[in-house]
Amino acid sequence: MSSLKGRVALVTGAAQGMGAAHARRLAAAGATVAVNDIRASDALSELADEISGVAVPGDVSEPEVCTRIADAVAAATGRLDVLVANHAYMTMAPILQHDERDWWRVVDTNLGGTFHLVQAVLPHMRRAGEGRIVVITSEWGVTGWPDATAYAASKAGLISLVKTLGRELAPERIIVNAVAPGVIDTPQLQVDADAAGTDLASIQAHYAETIPLARLGTSGEISAAVELLADFSMEAVVGQVISCNGGTTRSRV
C-alpha cells in the first residue's frame, strides 16, 4: 500500500470513467487531488467536492491552458507532485475517410496535450526535488487497431514519450511511466457502440470474447496500476508500460 499523504496530484480527463476513478483512488491514498476535464461541469465540481480537491477545467491541447492549470493547482495547494495524464479523445474511421482536422485533433489532444502538461508541471516537481508522472496510453498503442490510426498513433507516441522522459528525468528523481489499459468498461464504450451501430451489451460481449480473462476491465483496476506508479516509496520502475488488458498482449515483451 502506498501513502500519498501531503502530496498533490493532478488528474486530467477526470469528469467520468477512468479519470474519476484515478482521482478517487489517489485521494483515498491521502493525496489532495486536482481534477481536470475539457470543460467545467457539474460532474467535475461534484467530484472535486466529494474528494475535497479542486476542479481545474481546461483544454489541455492548448499549451498556455496547461500552464494555467498547473500554476492554478500549485497556487491553490502549494505544490504539484503527481501528474496523471488520463485525458483522451478518440474517433475511428478507415484511413481514407478520416477527416484530416479530426485526425490532428486526436494527436494534438492525446500526445500534444501530455507533452504540454509535462512542460507545465516540471517546474513544480523540480522545486520539490522529485515527482511522479503517470501517462495513460492504450493497448492499441502497442498492437495497433484497424480504423484507429490517429488514436493508436497518438498512444504509441505516448509510449515513446514515456520511455524517453523516463530516461531523461529519472536522474532528477522525477519518475515517468505509463499504464496501457485494454478494453475497460467505461462510458466511452457506449460512444463506441453508437458509432458502430450496435448496443452496449453486444459490444461488451464482442470485446470479451478475445480476452483471456473473458471479461472487460474496470476503471478501478487501472487505478490500482496508477497508484503503484504514483507511489513515492518506490522509484525503480522507470520508463515502463504496465499492461492491464486481461492477458491479450501476453505474446509481446
Binding site: 500500500m1 483471456p212 483496476e221 518506490m234 525503480a236 515502463q240 504496465i242
Partner: protein
C-alpha cells in the same frame, strides 16, 4: 473477519524473497516460505530445494496443513554466477535451469490443483531484465530467466478461464546477497549508466510483486519491469 489469505514465497529467507514475505504480510497475508534455509521470517518456513519436485509438493502440503489453502505463490528462489558460455559446466547449466525454471514449474504444479479447484489464485514468478535483454557472461542465468517468461505466459493463458492469474516481475540488478561485493553490477561506472543511477532495492521489487498479487486483477501473462531504467 475472514481468515487471512495464505501465500507461499520460495527463496523467502533472503533478498527479494524476504522483502516479498514482509510486503505480503503487510497486506494481511500469512506467508509460508520455502528456502534452502529454514530461517525465513515467515509464518511457517520449510527447508527445501525447489529443484526437487516431490520435496516441493510435500512442503506445499505442509504449509497448506499449517496455514490453510494457498491463495498466492511467488517464486523467488534463485542463484547467480558468472561464466563464459564455453566455461559453463553441464552441472552448472542443469542446476541453473532446474532451480529457476524448475522451481517455478514445481511450485506452480504443487499449488495449482487447489487454486483451480477454488477458481482463485495469483502466481508471480521473479524473472530478470536479462530475460528480456540478454546478458553478458551469464548466459545460463539469462536462458533460465527467459524460459520463465515463456512458461509464465503459456500458463497464464492455460488457467485464465479458471480465475488464476500468472504474472512476472523482471528486476534489474538488485541490492541482494546474489550480487557479490565485487560484482560488476555494483561498480560506479555501471551504476552511472542507469537512469536512476543506483541498484534496485529488494523492497521496490517486493512492492511490484505485491501489486501483481493483490491489485493487478485485470493482468495476466504480463511483465512488470523494475530495473532503475536498465531496460526500457
Amino acid at each position: 473477519m475472514p481468515e487471512a489469505p495464505v501465500a507461499i514465497v520460495t527463496g523467502g529467507a533472503s533478498g527479494i524473497g524476504a522483502a516479498t514475505v514482509s510486503a505480503l504480510r503487510g497486506r494481511g497475508y500469512r506467508v509460508g516460505a520455502l528456502d534452502l534455509s529454514d530461517r525465513a521470517d515467515a509464518d511457517h518456513a520449510v527447508a527445501v530445494d525447489v529443484s526437487d519436485g516431490a520435496a516441493v509438493t510435500g512442503a506445499v502440503a505442509e504449509i497448506e496443513r499449517r496455514l490453510g489453502p494457498i491463495a498466492a505463490l511467488v517464486t523467488s528462489a534463485g542463484h547467480y554466477e558468472m561464466a563464459l558460455v564455453g566455461e559453463i559446466s553441464v552441472q552448472a547449466w542443469r542446476r541453473m535451469l532446474r532451480v529457476h525454471l524448475g522451481g517455478f514449474f514445481n511450485a506452480s504444479r504443487a499449488c495449482l490443483p487447489g487454486m483451480l479447484r477454488r477458481r482463485s489464485g495469483a502466481i508471480v514468478a521473479v524473472a530478470s531484465e536479462l530475460a528480456v535483454g540478454g546478458g553478458e557472461h551469464d548466459a545460463h542465468y539469462a536462458a533460465a530467466k527467459g524460459a520463465i517468461l515463456g512458461l509464465a505466459r503459456s500458463l497464464a493463458v492455460e488457467v485464465a478461464g479458471s480465475g488464476v492469474r500468472v504474472n512476472v516481475v523482471a528486476p534489474g540488478p538488485t541490492d541482494t546477497p546474489l550480487l557479490a561485493a565485487d560484482s560488476p553490477w555494483r561498480a560506479e561506472d555501471y551504476l552511472a549508466t542507469l537512469p536512476l543511477r543506483r541498484l534496485t532495492a529488494p523492497a521496490e521489487v517486493a512492492r511490484c510483486v505485491e501489486y501483481l498479487v493483490c491489485d493487478a486483477t485485470f493482468s495476466t501473462g504480463d511483465v512488470v519491469n523494475v530495473n532503475a531504467g536498465a531496460v526500457i
